[in-house]
Symmetry: C2
Subunit: 486 residues, 2 copies
Amino acid sequence: MSAKNLTLLTDLYELTMMQGYFETQADETVVFDAYFRENPERSGYSIMAGLEQVIEYIKKLNFSYEDVEYLRSLGIFKEEFLHYLSGFHFSGDIYAIPEGTVVFPKEPLVKVVAPIMEAQLVETAILNIINHQCLIATKTSRIVSAAQGDGIMEFGLRRAQGPDAGLYGARAAMIAGCVGTSNVLAGKMFDVPVKGTHAHSWIMSFKDEYTAFKTYADLYPSACILLVDTYDTLKSGIPNAIRVFTEMREAGIDLTFYGIRLDSGDLAYLSKKARKMLDAAGFPDAVISASNDLDEYLIHDLKMQGAAINSWGVGTNLITSKGCPSFGGVYKLAAISNDNGEFIPRIKISENTEKITNPGNKTIYRIYDKETGKMRGDLICFVGEEYDIEKDLTLFDPVDTWKKTRLKGGTYTMREILLPVFQNGSCVYDSPSVMEIAAYCTKEKETLWDETKRLFNPHKVYVDLSKKLYNVKQELLSQMSDDEDQ
Amino acid sequence: MSAKNLTLLTDLYELTMMQGYFETQADETVVFDAYFRENPERSGYSIMAGLEQVIEYIKKLNFSYEDVEYLRSLGIFKEEFLHYLSGFHFSGDIYAIPEGTVVFPKEPLVKVVAPIMEAQLVETAILNIINHQCLIATKTSRIVSAAQGDGIMEFGLRRAQGPDAGLYGARAAMIAGCVGTSNVLAGKMFDVPVKGTHAHSWIMSFKDEYTAFKTYADLYPSACILLVDTYDTLKSGIPNAIRVFTEMREAGIDLTFYGIRLDSGDLAYLSKKARKMLDAAGFPDAVISASNDLDEYLIHDLKMQGAAINSWGVGTNLITSKGCPSFGGVYKLAAISNDNGEFIPRIKISENTEKITNPGNKTIYRIYDKETGKMRGDLICFVGEEYDIEKDLTLFDPVDTWKKTRLKGGTYTMREILLPVFQNGSCVYDSPSVMEIAAYCTKEKETLWDETKRLFNPHKVYVDLSKKLYNVKQELLSQMSDDEDQ
């Protein structure tokens, strides 16, 4: 749908600022962090996704002749600058947290270290891609957890916010643990399983429900899920399905994957009734799948009420992340290099403490309990700070600094989670396949305590600042406040 | 971002059903209606958008060699069917309500009259496109109304659900009355105004705020909106802006479009303070623009409180339609042709009365008061029903049938709003430009009473069924219910 060339997928102000830097010959190397301020829907964690599309975007950055002509037509750009754009390519470094990783607020998901003109241009598209896919991956992860091991199918394409939202939303959903998507193009593009059977219109186009079921079963005997709610679920749909399954068995057909789908009515009540009817007819292994406005809360509740559903199709609420349809990622200047190539930390203050940035050229270490492999917390520090895991480590809350956690040397492990993706404009990172990322994501979630994965009021994972970073931040804040007093 | 070829942008079940129809040689001509059940966020109306992209999609429908190879690899499609797909093109008729038209629940926005295999295939993409653009156009229209004539700028790209959501969301926003978008690619693709100045990072990259402002003003003297909240809005931002404006004036620069942008803090308080400071300094025509998590409700409230803002940048809440991120459009079978080529109405019942479909091959007439030009209501009827506007017309509520409105002959006018778009597979409709659609949309909204445009608890516009359609519907419902009793 959208143009292949996304170079102009940016806010106009990125270009007006770029021209400003061009004109003033201000092109210091800077550090920008893309991070988010809070988990969507009070989740205890989020899931990183979208990096592969960021990489594609950066690789293809190139102002075409038509792009430059268009910008010229706006009458605000000078010829020298347009000439510069026509030869533009990204020459900087990018670091990112790999897709499928569990992530937390305030952590740089993507860090751009580049001449300010380049770093500014890529802001909008990076945020667009990361905000979208992290949002859908996080929502999906919660839905998958609520289903306690049942399969979740992504069925949202028709309600997605445009074609890309359907496609990349399906990609993010697969990363976060869906077993399949209805989206055929997503299946083709990302090599992920596609699923689906039939709609009410199939049933309505035949003279009766039985004939519709029978025809479908003849065509697709090895994946025969019949939609039973077109007329009357209990009086017509399920009895007709049982009749067809019985005929299939009598005809010697191997009933491996078969069952029913409920798409309306009370899913707890109907699924329990359906289970009894199917069991009584000798079909205890028939799948009962359900769809209809599901989300993590409803699935959680249906499970609590003993709904006999073992496969869930989730559409609208997953693909739009209804309840919280934006991730809120921001892209903030963190440092500017001086003449010696050293990064001088910058801070953006705000009346709202939550909006104050973390200054400097930073990285992130994830800390695990050596014995259980469970996550203890994350540590944001300056690039180059060194730690010895044989020594004790004291973590402290960056807001409530009296809250300290002391980790005894030898009892914990650390790994850096912000990895190089581009260096001097060249890509140095190979994206895994979507299903590889999904497998990694499952392992990542296993490092979280159940308390953090809880839907409601989850336990917060600590994301602490290194002592050095904390001190630099306080110093900058205090300078700012002194300036204000003058 | 997404592939140009959207033929596989469909749910797998559309293809499994298609193969079913192919195998059973069931390819009657059918009528499908794409419609929605309720206005988002209890709005009194919605805005139609997305038709041009539906047309592009239908025109380009074509299973490439790779598409067929991919489908073959799934192992569920037979060679005869794959061969059929490789020669597939759309051969049917499509009718639609033009973009920018005010629309209401239950009205077919798009009607597909085609062989069932073709009509089934296009369901998902049509819904995806229409659901998205109608949603954003409707949200935007409400925001534009709340601003009471002030300009609304669309600033949401970074928070949109992927690149297409940013692009086509901007398109829908322009249709519904935005004065510009920050999205440069949308500006290029849809020939709409692009807007934007600078971000906090611009200010932070200079040694001080004054220098940042001054540099910007030197570069862009004719569109100089300065962002004043990087450090301290009242103590630093506005005084520095005034200093720069004063210097511009002293230098003889013609201050035509200039002013400030507020992006944090209490916008009512700060804008009123800013207005006083700017006025006192001799800049009564300086624009005060505002951004930061705005939506129709907050703009409405800020206006009520006398905020001195005359230009609004709206991002996240517009581009995601936060509060209601899906439009909920559905695509339902309404009729199947018999051997004589007559359309036999079909109905889908549901325990939920709201979900019962309107049967048959239908069209829609919009009825206006002849004197005021205001809308009286819409009438859904069968294709071919004729009306004489010189005769009295009785409209009745399809649910509460005792609620009747009698229109005296000669006092009203009617126009059919569902227009032919494709006939026998050929496009017969020329899409207007986005700005033409936007002008039409403004006129459309003028036909609504203010009571219908109210944000809260708006007056409902009547969408009635013709007597004939109502009777057929009741007959089908009664047949269904008889069948159930047997």
